[in-house]
């Protein structure tokens, strides 16, 4: 039998249907790969016994003709999703020993579709970071290395464990969450596909909150089709999440017709940054040419408030986080560090429980919401956010999707951007505007950098028009024909 881990979800689905192999075999192959991937530190908690059990159940269902849409497919779950009976950490010390008594809606949807959980994957602490360097459980390593260079690179963040697991073939797909680019940027850094749906498409219930008005779960996998298959299972209205939207979930896979003739692709001039690397610019142009060649119409557009997106994001997200993370106080669950009174217990618990980046953002957010500063920071940022959404709305009067680079660079080394948080925040420059506007976006691997590292292109769509995004992404993927994979150095 060939290496089952190299299959796409669509191929595995076909193989399972035909009876070429069982879910037990498919899952076992991934458990082996997961174990071998330890040097990447992608997983925080591995659940192989549960995986085998779930795979066995899946095979039984399939034998009875009751297989679901993702039946028997082994997946990794970002450790921000609460999973019943399985340690859930948000990669933070402060959630020490926290085992939820409930299952997040998105993961419950996946299990209802028959998927198998391999384990919980690493991330930046509370999803705050763009390089997966802030996890209490240590850095996640990118399976990719620069050509002729053995130094370790970051997988991007915050869904770095998801990206690394999928790129290293130790999971067929993974859930991610995207607040300002946390699905798309690591997908770009690891040569996989990452889809952030429209805000409200997937339920946030049971997902540890970072910034509630921005957080959105989404799929990460090795092909556009695989993300479409996964999203269809993950998405749907959830009455338990007041911000989830009551709309039918389309057949996203069916939307991938391969035909984009006449589709209007917007190219925003504001995304052409000063000092942007030549190869990113070249890749972007290449993407434009591919879509044009496939019959799309290229339209130059302007999104004038783009440059205010990052500053606004770094007010709104920390402000919401400062409130969302107040519940981690040592009183009811997770870490408690005793003190002589309640206030000292709070201070000790939070000082020890949160890492430096989380503390930085909680301080920024607390400051931005303080009396006397609220209008100047939070309120202003919300106004900027409205303008940015309006920019997109205007642009979408003339175009169907927008094409941009996903990130301003390829993956970088550990510590390379550690000194200056602002430099790190710049990683999100192309992903944050769509997050603020709540729009769907996908990162598709489109080429390799001069150093041999994957680079992604991003397609953004209209609200709840993931179908067009998938359609265009499928064409882009086919044109790019990205087949490179990292060498499996981590297997030793």
């Amino acid at each position: 039998m060939s290496d089952l881990t190299k299959l796409t979800i669509a191929e595995a689905r076909a193989g399972l249907e035909k009876g070429d192999f069982s879910s037990r075999e498919l899952t076992a192959a991934h458990i082996t790969a997961m174990t071998a991937s330890k040097p990447l530190n992608a997983y925080i908690t591995e659940t192989p016994e549960q995986a085998v059990e779930a795979a066995t159940d899946s095979d039984t269902r399939r034998a009875k003709g009751e297989a679901g849409k993702l039946d028997g497919i082994p997946l990794a779950i970002k450790d921000l999703f609460c999973t019943k009976g399985v340690l859930t950490t948000a990669a933070s010390h402060i959630l020490d020993g926290f085992t939820p008594h409930y299952e997040s809606t998105v993961t419950a949807n996946l299990w209802n579709a028959g998927a198998v959980m391999l384990g919980k994957v690493n991330l930046d602490e509370f999803a705050m970071g763009s390089s997966n360097e802030t996890s209490y459980y240590g850095n996640v390593v990118n399976p990719w290395r620069r050509e002729g260079d053995e130094s370790a690179l970051v997988p991007g963040g915050s869904s770095g464990g998801s990206a690394s697991a999928v790129a290293s073939f130790s999971a067929m797909g993974a859930t991610g969450t995207d607040t300002g680019g946390s699905i798309r940027q690591p997908a770009s850094f690891t040569g996989i596909v990452g889809m952030k749906p429209t805000y409200g498409r997937c339920s946030r219930w049971g997902v540890v909150a970072f910034a509630s008005s921005l957080d959105q779960p989404g799929p990460m996998a090795r092909t556009v089709r695989d993300t479409a298959i996964m999203l269809e299972a993950m998405a749907g209205f959830d009455p338990k999440d007041s911000t989830s939207v009551n709309m039918p979930v389309p057949n996203f896979e069916a939307a991938m017709t391969g035909d984009i003739k006449g589709l209007k692709i917007g190219i925003p001039k504001e995304y052409r940054l000063d000092g942007m690397s030549e190869e990113i610019d070249t890749l972007w142009q290449q993407g434009i040419d591919w879509l044009k060649a496939a019959g799309a119409e290229i339209v130059d557009i302007s999104l004038p408030h783009t440059k205010y997106a990052l500053p606004a994001y770094y007010i709104i997200a920390p402000a919401e986080a400062s409130s969302n993370l107040a519940r981690y106080d040592g009183v009811r669950y997770g870490l408690r560090v005793e003190g002589k009174d309640l206030n000292e217990m709070y201070a000790n618990t939070r000082a020890e429980g949160f890492g430096a980046e989380v503390k930085r953002r909680l301080l920024i957010g607390t400051y931005a919401l303080s009396a006397g500063y609220y209008d100047a920071y939070y309120l202003k940022a919300q106004k900027v956010r409205a303008r940015i959404a309006e920019d997109f709305k205007q642009a979408y009067l003339n175009v169907d999707v927008i094409l941009t680079p996903t990130a301003p660079s390829a993956a970088f080394g550990f510590g390379e951007k550690g000194d200056d948080p602002l430099e790190m925040y710049l990683n999100d420059v192309f992903t944050v505007p769509a997050s603020l506007a709540g729009l769907p976006g996908i990162s598709v691997p489109a080429g390799l950098s001069t150093e041999g590292l994957p680079l992604g292109l991003q397609l953004l769509g209209k609200p709840f028009d993931e179908e067009t995004v998938f359609r265009a992404a499928g064409v882009l993927e086919e044109a790019a024909a990205f087949t490179a994979t990292p060498t499996d150095w981590w297997r030793g």
């Binding site: 926290f98 008594h101 219930w205 909150a209 007041s242 919401e320 519940r327």
Partner: protein
């Protein structure tokens, strides 16, 4: 009628504004499905949302929204079709989320007004600033362990309405009347049970003093007062404290104070500098609350007749005095009882019986109207016996006493005890003749012009007939006989 404190340097006026926290009558909590019932075992009514477990999200309880709108309509207030839930951020052990979901800049109910009932049937209008919905915190128990506090989250997330008044009250009596009126209105509406002992209604009281007619002074807030009596004591103490400070040349500091009912004084809890910065911002987990005019109208159609219109009707249609009407409408149960008694009868007589005899007996025995041994139809029957001349008013009081003690029917008691009024002219005439014969000197005095003695003869005749003689018939026969 305002309260004036006479200081050494002149008169001071007291200014009072109230924030009443009223627990919404609702089966479940404001943002979760857990039960909101009172008195369950600690931490037995706590959902994952109420305990602020990671990833849990609030979903608004529509019933609580309806109740808030209903209350707003009862307060003659503007209903805001668009309102916003905000987070009020602060750390406390019984506040699991680290924030309270409340409404800050855009509450569900805006300005309104109510009438408060003062002595002698006088009324005054008090402005309502706003009403907003918010969730309650849990409860800290500090007396269960020598060094630890216990937390009960049953109350965490229970829906509250905060009703904020304008600083329109000028005396402890007015403040008390305001609380009573709010309590009466929410109980009529069925939106809050108004039970201050169980904490379903508590008040934060803002007090300041000023020289009569001048600008408002600096206020102090006394939190969580759960009885009308304590509130009045707190106001008196606090107003005098502020006057003392000002008269001795000091300034009142804006602060939060605690009323200690055992010592009868207020103490500083935290000053303005120590005041929390709540960092309010719109809760991103909740969409703004929006509804249409039809939703409001649907609720308006189900409103009961409220105390003020009911009082006006009792005065206008039933001819009651403003005082009697005010007493009868204060509690919906009383008003309903009274109306059942008055139905098809003399309303004034019914009011007298309810307020005089019934309330008197209930008070003496410490019973509530709900436990009254005499139900409305039974009291109505008694009144009918008076009206048709079967018994006199005086006998009726005896009968009522018996009804209250035994729960028996009026007619049965009258029958059993032979209390039926005597209208037989022969028997009455015989009694009269006997009285006249026994009192020749009084008869002479009467005939000599001492008309007032008529009452004496009346009394003697009634006594001789054990009160059963029909007073009308007695008068009719007695008068010509005395006049000779």
């Amino acid at each position: 009628m305002g309260m004036i404190i006479q200081g050494a340097t002149g008169d001071w006026e007291v200014v009072i504004g109230l924030e009443i926290h009223a627990q919404v009558t609702s089966k479940s909590k404001l943002f979760s499905g857990a039960s909101a019932a009172y008195g369950a075992a600690p931490n037995s009514q706590v959902s994952f949302v109420d305990a602020a477990m990671p990833g849990m999200l609030p979903v608004i309880n529509e019933m609580a929204v309806e109740q808030a709108v209903r209350t707003g309509l009862g307060l003659n207030a503007k209903i805001n079709k668009f309102s916003v839930f905000d987070r009020k951020n602060y750390f406390y052990a019984d506040l699991p989320q680290g924030y309270q979901i409340s409404q800050y800049l855009q509450p569900i109910v805006g300005e309104g007004k109510i009438l408060i009932d003062l002595k002698d049937g006088e009324t005054r209008e008090i402005g309502i600033t706003r009403l907003h919905l918010e969730q309650d915190a849990g409860k800290s128990l500090h007396d269960q362990h020598p060094s630890m506090s216990f937390i009960d989250l049953n109350r965490s997330g229970v829906p509250l309405m905060e009703i904020v008044s304008e600083p329109d009250m000028r005396s402890p009596e007015e403040a008390a009347a305001y609380v009573k009126k709010i309590r009466s209105i929410v109980r009529y509406l069925g939106t809050c049970d108004g039970n201050m002992e169980e904490g379903s209604m508590r008040a934060d009281v803002n007090v300041s003093v000023r020289r009569v007619g001048e600008e408002f002074g600096t206020r102090c807030e006394m939190k969580n007062i759960n009885s009308v009596r304590f509130m009045q004591q707190a106001i008196i103490y606090e107003a005098n404290r502020q006057v003392d400070i000002l008269e001795s040349g000091g300034t009142v500091e804006q602060e939060t104070r605690l009323y200690d009912p055992d010592r009868g004084e207020t103490r500083s809890m935290r000053s303005k500098e120590e005041a929390h910065d709540y960092r309010y911002f719109p809760d991103p987990d909740l969409l703004p609350l929006e509804f249409d005019g039809a939703f409001i109208e649907r609720i308006r159609e189900t409103l009961p007749e409220l105390p003020d219109p009911k009082k006006a009707r009792f005065i206008k249609d039933l001819g009651l005095s403003p005082y009697d009407a005010g007493v009868l409408v204060a509690e919906k149960e009383v008003a309903d009882y009274f109306e059942a008694v008055a139905e098809g009868r003399d309303a004034k007589l019914a009011a007298n019986w309810v307020i005089g005899e019934l309330f008197g007996h209930l008070n003496r025995t410490g019973k509530d109207l709900a436990d009254s041994p005499v139900e409305a139809p039974a009291l109505g029957d008694l009144i009918d016996l008076i009206k048709d001349g079967t018994i006199s008013n005086r006998i009726a009081k005896e009968v009522f006493e018996e009804m209250f003690d035994t729960g028996k029917k009026a007619a049965d008691i009258v029958e059993e005890k032979g209390l039926k009024q005597v209208s037989d002219t022969g028997a009455i005439e015989a009694a009269i003749d006997a009285v006249i014969a026994a009192n020749p000197d009084k008869v002479a005095e009467y005939r000599g012009g001492k008309d007032k003695l008529f009452g004496f003869f009346m009394g003697q005749v009634m006594k001789a007939t054990q009160g059963k003689a029909n007073p009308g018939v007695v008068t009719e026969i007695l008068k010509p006989k005395l006049d000779g």
